[in-house]
Symmetry: C2
Subunit: 281 residues, 2 copies
């Protein structure tokens, strides 16, 4: 019944960082589930989640967490989600739907199709920021955020619809696309900007940082993001990320050629095309 | 007398775009001058400035504007400032101090040293944004903005002190450096980020723009800036800008090599160095 909020009895959230904890807060705030069980590799994080009443209970292992859940959300770093899917597959019942919040999708949906055929639906809510961890979590993190879900040919249609409804209920604008297309577009729109921001910070002389204005701050903001999380993302999506870098470097090379030639007309037309596009967003 | 606000009898502002108009508003708001005379190449802009009472009078030519002024501020686009300095040199009296607000400095201070020896002091207030023009002007535009002034060996010390005081009185944090060093650092900290932002926008597929998150928006915000103004800046500072692009591309090439090799350790250490630096700003 598409118009009613989809209710879950017990949601298992695996990983209680920014996204997992915000998911717990958002599910509660919107009354989308009756109970939440949480797992995190660190005991201190599990205790913090209990103390803040983000979850109703915590357990020592992912397998225990998923045993009675009807919805499982894998919210660990990208490289860990693939392992997690293998680890929990024997402990979930056939009615359990499993999703994730990872920033790359193909390796994750491959694992889902293998270990949880039909009932794994990859998700990528594009929310977050430079702050990470449970302490930065917010119930409204997903409000108005784009969220891409990446069903494959073998994903059950009912599972896809339920996960789409879940994200819609959490306030996201949901788009569906294949995992490969997702990874290609994300390399352009998210992973490249991160690499670029890191490059711009890295090449600065110390003195330059003291005179940097708002333009520099905006352009490089994402470079402050967690290096381990981003390492995982880049390594997992390296083929597409390399292609994005190549296209960006090719544009810069054209620009540099025009610059060295003093070709103001070409410089202006390259900048004008980008300005028009960006202003239209 | 360094502690008192420096007062000017008549300030001539040449160019009434975002920076010139904001300068007029700020000078008035802080009571730093008795009168302001404005010039802009467009009659409609001059009328708008009068209607908004930004200036006390407007004139048809830069030469008329500067004739009785004790402070002249050149606030036209970079490529025009050099011509302006030559044009007004015969019309200013020896006591008149001339400054500018251009984003590049060497070509401008060269013109200043030639046509207004001793009494031209190059300035670069790093204020503004994607919006341009008189309509976007604000009295507090310079509040807390970094401002670099670029005296040369031939600039009179008293003129430098007065211009430093002017920007301090307008709320800026003032740094002094040579025009060449300014242009080199600006290529890194401002012109490169602009080229990079334009590149990242330019290579996107149409579909990617619809799923872009805040990271993309931040990273590419500056790309919406005025293409003609930026063309001038790039062309004027092309040698330094080319060197900045080269260093950025070299970093990206290293990153790509590590990525293709699946060298997670190297990727993480490159990202971590940038993250630490950016988080410390």
């Amino acid at each position: 019944v598409a118009d009613e909020a989809v209710k879950y009895r017990l949601v298992a959230i695996l990983g209680l960082g920014l996204l997992g904890s915000s998911m717990a807060r958002a599910l509660r705030a919107r009354g989308l589930c009756e109970g939440i069980i949480g797992w995190s590799p660190r005991e201190s994080t599990r205790e913090e989640a209990l103390n803040h009443k983000l979850v109703d209970a915590t357990v020592d292992s992912p397998e225990q967490a998923v045993a009675e859940a009807d919805l499982v959300v894998a919210a660990t770093p990208v490289s860990h989600i693939v392992k997690l899917i293998g680890a929990i597959s024997k402990s979930t019942t056939n009615g359990t739907i499993v999703t994730d919040v990872g920033s790359t999708k193909r390796s994750i949906t491959d694992a889902g199709d293998k270990h949880l055929p039909g009932r794994f639906v990859g998700s990528h809510p594009m929310a977050g920021g430079e702050k990470s961890g449970l302490a930065a979590s917010r119930a409204d993190l997903f409000q108005n955020a784009p969220c891409i879900i990446t069903p494959t040919e073998s994903t059950h249609r009912a599972a896809v619809d339920r996960i789409e409804k879940l994200w819609t209920d959490l306030g996201c604008r949901v788009t569906r696309m294949g995992p490969l297309e997702h990874d290609r577009l994300m390399a352009d729109v998210s992973h490249l900007p991160h690499a670029i921001a890191a490059a711009v910070v890295a090449i600065q002389e110390e003195r330059a940082l003291g005179i940097a204005g708002n333009g520099f701050r905006d352009t490089t903001r994402v470079a402050a993001g967690d290096p381990q999380l981003w390492r995982d993302i880049f390594i997992d999506n390296r083929d597409a990320a390399c292609r994005s870098i190549d296209r960006c470097v090719a544009w810069l090379r054209d620009f540099r050629t025009a610059l060295q030639a003093g070709d103001g007309q070409r410089i202006e037309s390259m900048l004008a095309a980008a300005a028009k596009r960006r202003a239209g967003m």
